[in-house]
């Protein structure tokens, strides 16, 4: 009933004397009993079954408890047995989680709206329109699963029969059923299995790996006294549900939080100090800080002397990187840089971290390395309150007895990218595919739980690339923008309908189980079952001649049911991993989470390798520049030995996994190498301006970021989350907008040399005046009724380009002009 009708209804009534009986009804007290009689207990908090699992609304995979009644998911709440929703430090988790309980982010709380999304794809569909392209109607026709399997497997078989299995490209998400997909590709014979990581943070991975040998150090915020973040937004991305708690608790205990970011992000808003910086210049600020720390001898002399390599050269290198030098580059006042450098170096413990802010530009890797060097100068690795090197023990990917595919990757590999990440280089693949290049023709692709049209820079290029394939299969819960270019689309499952192992983003070994809490809504196979079924139809065998997708890895017996086979494969991963427990045993653990009682270990780099391990170890002499270093392998190299340490001062120690076994201020992994453009890499964390700079025609930087309300490009059809954040207006500094004659709420054109998109302007004081930006993920034109047409996608404004060292997609390197539409 709308307002007008209601008013008319009331006003139109005539007072003919309020009957006494009526009034007593009106005013009569209602008792609890009267209400209780009407209460329906079928779905109350105690009803049904609470099934522990792990979230996958984003890649953070926090623990959840799902209440299921009569096959319906009624509630999702945090799972307090899983540390991911509480703390990344074991002491804090063991002591305080039983009292305080775990938490869950808005996306995790919105799971029902994804599970029951009415726009989900329910049946396989086949395209009837042979023409492919952005905006072209595929003319979907519903087909049976049998027809889908027949068609897809026969297309694949044709590639194998022709002796060109490498013509199959495969793309997947990076934390969901990746192992089975990787195995399928190897058994099939294609080296072209790639996954999401290189759209995310492979530049960060490369930066840290170069300096201290670990790809994924984790910030120990809660024990820190000074938290310095460059372009990381843990309170906005809220990727792991524990982040807000450990950050706010650290501040409560007196820690200072300083956030360097062009945008006043959710994290900057909670900071003691927001330092707005010109995009992609963070490396310069870090070098100037290093200059101050070295100049004033504020570095940790003992750590640097014992545990670092290349300090003298680095000191010489930063001598002219003064705060004044950096001010001109970064717009951050020299005095601010000077002060923050002193505060950071003299407050113990202090932690510095960097993520995708500076990490998605062409100069990302050396910039990130400069920031990692700040941690090196202060001994800020693996001590309480610094950057922790986590023990990642969890499930174990079973060993595959199969010869590695002989063909090289279609495009983008370790020969081209000096710090190539095994997730591949999407930008290189799609660009070369679009241009008809690549090492050989790619004919078919399978894309699982990915939407590259929206998530890879350069929409047109990606569309052209996918159009150049003979056959494209997409497995997704929606008919996404990418699915619109497919020949066959099969419905996927949500995380509430399938299995997965989740090694968590905490500092000690933890393994959480994701399990189907309800059966797939449309009777569809889970993604891994789809893969297993294809493997069976193709008759894929390992090199021992075993029918890989028929013989159960635990029982060694032939298993008829696809689901039962996968459960065995899956169970084998936890059984042979750190928990040494089967799937059934894992299910019975409290919260279905295995937590290593040993907890967080610190300063592991200094630990000596015990004599019994040394007895079977192999010591290998390695030349690192002019230095001869002795690496310790767990067994001889020809037996597949893995490096476990380094001989330092005559002692076998764990050390750091860098060529010298120490933190490297001189980056040996890049010494003498060329980047993907053929340019020689510097072995110092130099600051060089990123490739694309603003000019007279395109004077503004365009960046993007995450907010707690959405995940990448995949939650914009979730009706609850959309109600929180329905669109992504262009954030523009009030002063800049004034100069352009743009008012709050105006429709504007955002235009780069690659494309033009429309956006709504939102004026703010919370962004650098040279910068405009958008929350990432909006601007869909397919996927679902709610997502379609909401907000602005910025992918079309960028080229399909990766950072030349690590292969990270450059989502943030873009210059635009903004004008009133």
């Amino acid at each position: 009933m709308n307002d007008t009708n209601r008013r008319q209804f009331l006003a139109g009534s005539a007072l003919a004397g309020a009957a006494a009986g009526g009034l007593s009804w009106l005013l009569g007290a209602r008792t609890a009993e009267a209400l209780a009689a009407e209460v329906d207990k079928r779905y109350d908090f105690q009803a049904g079954e609470w099934i522990p699992s792990c979230c996958n609304m984003c890649g953070g995979q926090s623990g959840i408890m799902c209440q299921v009644v009569d096959g319906l998911v009624v509630r999702i709440k945090p799972n307090s047995h899983n540390p991911n929703g509480f703390s990344n430090i074991s002491d804090d988790f063991f002591k305080n989680c039983p009292v305080e309980g775990a938490v869950l982010c808005p996306k995790g709380n919105a799971g029902l709206m994804t599970l029951y999304d009415p726009d989900r794809l329910a049946k396989p569909v086949r395209r009837t329109n042979p023409k492919k392209g952005l905006g072209v109607d595929p003319g979907w026709k519903e087909i049976s699963w049998e027809e889908a399997y027949q068609e897809v497997s026969s297309r694949m078989k044709a590639l194998r029969d022709a002796g060109t299995p490498e013509a199959l490209l495969w793309f997947s998400e990076d934390h969901s059923f990746t192992h089975i997909q990787g195995d399928f590709c190897e058994l099939f014979g294609t080296p072209n299995y790639s996954n999401h990581s290189n759209l995310c943070d492979t530049a960060r991975k490369a930066s840290f790996k170069a300096v201290m040998g670990d790809e994924r150090p984790l910030m120990d915020a809660i024990q820190s006294r000074y938290i310095l973040l460059f372009g990381w937004n843990p309170l906005g991305a809220t990727k792991w549900s524990h982040l807000p708690r450990i950050m706010t608790r650290a501040r409560e205990r007196g820690a200072k939080l300083v956030v360097v970011d062009p945008f006043n992000s959710a994290t900057a808003r909670k900071a003691d100090e927001w330092v707005p910086i010109r995009p992609a210049t963070d490396g310069a600020m870090a070098l100037a800080m290093a200059h101050v720390i070295v100049r004033d001898q504020l570095y940790d002399k003992e750590f640097v002397a014992r545990w670092s390599y290349g300090f003298d050269r680095f000191s010489e290198f930063v001598k002219d990187k003064t705060p004044d030098w950096a001010e001109k580059i970064t717009t951050v006042p020299a005095a601010t840089i000077e002060r923050i450098a002193r505060e950071f170096a003299t407050t113990q413990p202090a932690v510095v971290d960097v993520w995708s802010g500076p990490g998605q530009h062409s100069n990302a890797v050396p910039g990130g390395a400069a920031i990692a060097c700040l941690a090196g100068l202060t001994g800020g690795f693996d001590r309480p309150g610094t950057l922790h090197l986590p023990n990642k023990g969890g499930n174990k990917h079973g060993h595959l007895h199969v010869e590695k595919p002989k063909a090289p990757r279609f495009a983008g590999d370790d020969k081209l990218y000096p710090m190539f990440h095994k997730s591949g280089v999407y930008c290189e693949i799609f660009r070369q595919l679009a241009e008809g290049k690549g090492k050989y023709p790619a004919k078919m692709a399978v894309i699982v739980f990915q939407n590259p049209i929206m998530s890879v820079p350069g929409q047109e290029t990606v569309a052209k690339a996918l159009g150049n394939l003979e056959f494209l299969v997409v497995n997704d819960i929606f008919l996404s923008e990418t699915a619109q270019l497919a020949d066959i689309v099969v419905p996927g499952t949500t995380y509430l309908e399938r299995y997965d192992w989740n090694t968590h983003w905490v500092t000690w070994p933890v393994l959480g189980l994701r399990q189907p809490v309800v059966k797939p809504l449309f009777g569809q196979p889970a993604e891994y079952e789809f893969v297993v079924e294809l493997g069976r139809r193709l008759g894929l065998k390992d090199q021992d001649g075993k029918d890989f997708f028929w013989v159960g890895p635990l029982s060694g017996q032939r298993v008829e049911s696809v689901t039962a086979w996968y459960e065995e494969y899956f169970s084998n991963e936890s059984k042979s991993g750190a928990p040494k427990l089967t799937l059934e045993q894992m299910k019975k653990l409290p919260g279905a989470t295995w937590v290593d009682k040993g907890g967080t270990k610190y300063i592991k780099y200094a630990s000596e390798i015990p004599a019994d391990k040394m007895a079977t170890a192999a010591v290998v002499k390695t030349q690192v520049g002019e230095l001869e270093v002795e690496h310790i392998l767990d067994k001889p190299k020809d037996q597949g030995g893995k490096r476990i340490g380094t001989m330092l001062d005559g002692k076998p120690v764990k050390g750091f996994q860098t060529p010298t076994g120490k933190v490297e201020f001189v980056l040996n992994v890049l010494a003498g190498k060329n980047d993907a453009t053929g340019k020689p890499c510097s072995d110092l964390p130099v600051y060089a301006p990123r490739d694309w700079q603003p000019d007279k025609d395109y004077p503004l930087y365009l960046i993007n970021w995450k907010e707690s309300t959405h995940t990448h490009t995949r939650t914009q059809n979730n009706r609850w989350l959309v109600e929180l954040k329905p669109a992504n207006p262009l954030q523009i500094n009030r002063k800049t907008a004034g100069q352009l004659g743009i008012k709050d709420g105006d429709e504007v054109w955002v235009e780069s040399k690659y494309g033009k998109v429309k956006a709504k302007a939102q004026l703010t004081e919370g962004i650098h005046p040279e910068v405009v930006g958008l929350q990432h993920g909006f601007g869909h034109w397919a996927m679902g009724k709610v997502a379609s047409g909401a907000g602005t996608a910025d992918g079309a404004l960028r080229p399909t380009k990766a950072d030349p060292i690590g292969g990270q997609a450059l989502h943030k390197e873009c210059c635009v002009r903004v004008s009133k539409a």
Partner: protein
């Protein structure tokens, strides 16, 4: 606002008032501004005395620590999951503001559930006594009596009430989501249907009172407090000096003694049960 196709109330909902027939008959007897005002004042008198529901010995309240709140809005969505409120109805929302000039900008945000005022403005204007105070201080709405006049929405100084226009997130009645009734008031109103309460009623946060046991104590804290990522929402009894937060175990009174707490629009004298600790 996310809505399933229909952006305006459906014809069916327009034609059929949401109130039960007997109530309509009664309302048919009423008319004119004077009569409405009289009923409103009668209702107001009545609602000052608590009804039997809830424990007399409790006064449920919240202490929201703005230093811990990161404005992630998990609370708003957890509430959606718990209470299955329709599009346009959110019991706990965020109010956000930007102040200052670049680079000295300050953005503040806070979570606003219902304040569960001791002297609530909403109950005073309710013409039918549908809005009432429970013994434990929670302000509740009896949908069977609510005529959807929305006086309370106008009266609430905190904007904590919203009208249920009968919109649905998902149109298909057979969709799994639509088969689950809202848990509020013990799922007493069943699954949603056009023209049926609480569609056409005014809705508000109830501190998830359906999570209370027979004694009026909570089996489980409110959904917003339970999920809060910064651990900013403390929920518990404000009457008993020894009572602890049902989520994190701190003494509620100790939290209030720690850092100059304040309540919103204190000057109105509504005596809210929600306190804020400054950022």
């Amino acid at each position: 606002m996310a809505r399933e196709e229909n952006d305006t109330p459906t014809p069916q909902a327009d034609a059929e008032p949401s109130s039960p027939p007997d109530r309509r008959k009664l309302l048919g007897l009423l008319g004119g501004g004077a009569a409405l005002a009289a009923v409103a004042s009668l209702g107001g008198c009545k609602t000052t005395s608590p009804r039997a529901e809830g424990a007399q010995t409790r006064r449920w309240g919240m202490v929201i620590d703005l230093k811990r709140c990161i404005a992630c809005k998990a609370c708003t969505i957890a509430c959606k999951n718990e209470n299955k409120t329709p599009p346009g109805v959110a019991y706990g929302v965020f109010l956000e503001e930007e102040a200052g000039t670049f680079p000295h900008v300050r953005r503040t945000a806070f979570f606003r559930p219902c304040m569960q005022c001791e002297k609530s403005s909403c109950s005073k204007v309710c013409p039918t006594g549908a809005t009432y105070h429970r013994a434990d201080g929670i302000v509740a709405v009896d949908y069977k009596r609510c005529i959807g006049c929305r006086y309370c929405i106008a009266a609430c100084p905190y904007g904590a009430r919203s009208f249920d226009y009968g919109h649905d997130y998902i149109a298909d009645a057979k969709n799994g989501y639509n088969l689950i009734p809202s848990s509020e008031y013990g799922a007493a109103y069943g699954t949603r249907a056009k023209g049926k309460s609480p569609s056409g009623n005014v809705r508000k946060c109830t501190f998830c009172l359906h999570l209370q046991d027979e004694n009026g104590d909570y089996r489980e804290p409110t959904a917003c407090a339970r999920t809060c990522m910064g651990k900013a929402i403390h929920f518990g009894d404000l009457k008993n000096p020894e009572a602890t937060c049902l989520v994190h175990g701190e003494k509620m009174q100790a939290l209030l003694a720690k850092r100059s707490p304040y309540r919103l629009k204190e000057e109105l004298g509504n005596e809210p049960a929600v306190y804020y600790l400054p950022a």
